[in-house]
Subunit: 124 residues, 4 copies
């Protein structure tokens, strides 16, 4: 994926419409969150099992795909405006997660790393 090219095209798109005035980082986080929530809405009444088999419904998947693109677009725009290298940050975060969630402590558990002690406490 050439994220730089995508960001360039999104920047040109905004500039041609004189939309840079709307694209403050603050506003972009709002748009990002609103799009993520549209994705959420598509899944809110589905069981987890139904959410896995959504791939069988072409009409549902068309909407999911479009919302996934929307989330990506605003994320790429935001990163561009703030000079964030998404790929670099993702690799850094994946390395951090490997430390925070060592296999032996994390197997079969979705407990957040900073709540491990607390939950252990409540479980005993």
């Amino acid at each position: 994926m050439d994220i730089k090219e995508i960001q360039k095209r999104l920047g040109d798109f905004a500039e041609e419409r004189n939309w840079e005035q709307f694209h403050s980082p603050k506003n972009l986080t709002m748009a990002l969150c609103a799009e993520a929530a549209e994705l959420l809405e598509l899944f809110q009444w589905l069981t987890e099992e139904q959410s896995r088999t959504i791939v069988d419904s072409e009409s549902d998947m068309a909407r999911v795909r479009e919302e996934v693109a929307d989330v990506f677009i605003y994320l790429a725009r935001l990163a561009d405006k703030l000079g964030i290298d998404i790929e670099r940050e993702v690799f850094k975060k994946m390395a951090l997660n490997e430390k925070k969630y060592p296999v032996e402590l994390s197997r079969d558990k979705a407990t957040k790393y900073n709540r491990r002690q607390e939950r252990k406490g409540t479980e005993t």
Copy 2:
């Protein structure tokens, strides 16, 4: 950006911890939305101008970068589980937006394409 490699690493990470049980598309949209909202929270009391100059604060940017990575990670994971080619969808959506928001109708206006008539109505 090699999104396939990122998705492979995220998949391995989940599998080693036996976390696939938690990573239903439904749950991933929840995690995605929660991370997008953490980004939102960092900007909620800032003015738009302050949101533009956040780049000058290293401590704030460190948090922004981490949340951007988190959003990307869950989006990549979700796309992987649903077999969505993010890049392809983004290009399709950008082409669609070019049709929905022609320059002459959209200059200086953030109005959603399907509310153009309505707003014009209220403005007259």
Copy 3:
């Protein structure tokens, strides 16, 4: 519940701290959404069944209760700033929902009223 009293206290609280400058409707929707997402986060890795039995965990419920209060607080503040009578709007919306979701069309179905036709189409 005396929502007017709650709104009065929240208004006094903001005024004493000179926080009205931060409490624009725009910012309050961001805070509301961020709090709603904190609630979401508490449930993201739970199964639906586990989400029903969360009432058995005092430590989890303490966090849920606090987030519910936070969402309410920002909603009450926003409504106050915009002169919205929440109770009146809720009764209006409930009446509207009774029309949009008649029992015979809605039994056992979570389909949004404006997607009924579409889904029927895909099911045939």
Copy 4:
């Protein structure tokens, strides 16, 4: 506001449609968050000043009011399913906020109570 009456009507509404199956606490937090984000969307491209004068636009306010009602409805439903007394929790949280944000430390500052030290650090 008689929240118990509202909760009773929402419960009857769900029961008549056999919707209790969809209304797990997990799903209700998703719906709550999706509705909060619809409110967010109405404000995302507005300046803060425009967000204050939105009260002058009847068509915009009609949408805002409806979304405020939707957020309240899902919050009330969630509280009901989890046996949470919203009013009690709101008063508890307001008392807590008075301790966390003493006037002398909070005047003109939107800094979160647990980041006060950190920000002070970065400002020196």
